[in-house]
Amino acid sequence: MLLYRLWNYLRGYVIIYIENISHEKIINLFKRKNITVWDVKRKNKGIQLIIESKSYNKEKELIINTGAIVIKKCGLLFSLSKLKRRKGFTLGIALLVVCVLYFCSFIWNIEIIGNESITNNQIIDALEQNNITVPLNINKINDAYIENILYENFESLKFAEVYIEGTNLLVYLKEKKKIDYFVEDNYPSNIIAKKDAVINKIIVKNGEKLVKEGDVVVKGQTLINGVVESQTGEKYLVHSDGIVFGQTYYNLILKEEKVQNISLKTDKKKSTYYLCFNEKKYKIYDSKSKPKEYIKESKTIHIPVLSSLFRICLFKDEYYQTEIKTVNVDKTYIKNKLTIKLYEELYKYCGDNSSILQNNIEFCEDETYFFLKAKVEMLERIGETARINDIEEE
């Protein structure tokens, strides 16, 4: 039904009213004359019906003779015929269409996607040097030519593609990534122990293994030898490479005072206000005397509407006066603090590639101090590369 109505609208139709006693005869007359009629309704003393515009124009005289009154002419054809009278309006629309089509035939923006080290300005400058500037006629754009310009100007480009999307020129780039190649050291070297340990595991990639699992080694002892003997008895130097894990032992004693002086925040405070605008701070109010010992706290106060529109906000610095109090420190607190301190110390000695095999932590106290006594067995990498300077010394 909707399609039928749309079709009728496109063709155009006329709504007429006929006031006649024998309206049935008129409908039959239309039928005989092959005039298609629809939406016939009884209204007052007569009938209202719709006739397609083509039939109306063809049989206009006959229809008027029946005493028909035209109520309305509808449809696209009639709407267009009205435009004949409004010449200025028609001309305006035509001009608008021409303008839109004309302006759509230009590129108005260059959008660059995927650049990392190369800036947008550098790319636009390179294009401008080759007379590619906006507005640019779409018909004159040669994708391959622009891509070649980019490749010529930027050696770090791995891939460049240019395509048009509406009135935008999209430049899609992919840059080459700098690969940090592994530089192999080829100088002759030994791997020596950097601390006293018991060997746990030894993996030799290059060189001659001098120790085995379970051996006790001292600091400076050679673990993997860089002087290798060939089958003919000839000696030559190699760069030793391998991983040596050793068990190391640490005895640590850490202590903390039972009574400590702690600075506590009081209610007395001084404030300083700043106005932040465009990421710059302007001081509005500053209290004259700041406390000698203080804890500083900063707050940002957002002003409704203004903050979101103009990026204006208030910034407040509060200086709380502190007072030093002598406090008996809680035992659990100290225990946790010393344990954390212990792990920090171990990390300092052993580094990343290490793990705790066994530990024996003891917590004790005397009159003035809390003590943490720890015996820790660690597994860590103990190998260290040492250059061989002269084979004669070996």
């Binding site: 049935e24 039928k31 629809w38 016939v40 009884r42």
Partner: protein, 92 residues
């Protein structure tokens, strides 16, 4: 009239639609809202509550409320509205 009856019987025997061989009207009723009558001879009466349609051998009277002619051309007529009664009267 007789000839039309014979044509109707032939159509029945051959399993063909009746209106192909005969001059009988084809009436399609959709609920009580719409009636489509094919091969008609024009309108006999048209009022808001009654529409009579002329066919070659019968007069089809439709009674109802707010009846309107949805479409009329040489071949078919569509009657829309709230239909209460359909009466087919044989012409003499």
């Amino acid at each position: 009239m007789k000839f039309n009856k014979i044509k109707g019987k032939i159509a029945d025997e051959l399993d063909l639609p009746d209106n192909i061989l005969t001059d009988n009207s084809n009436i399609i009723i959709t609920g009580n809202r719409k009636i489509i009558i094919e091969s008609h001879d024009g309108i006999y009466t048209y009022e808001k509550d009654i529409v009579s349609i002329n066919s070659k051998y019968q007069i089809i009277s439709i009674k109802g409320i707010d009846l309107k002619i949805g479409e009329i051309d040489n071949f078919r007529i569509i009657i829309e509205g709230k239909i209460n009664e359909i009466k087919i009267k044989q012409k003499e």
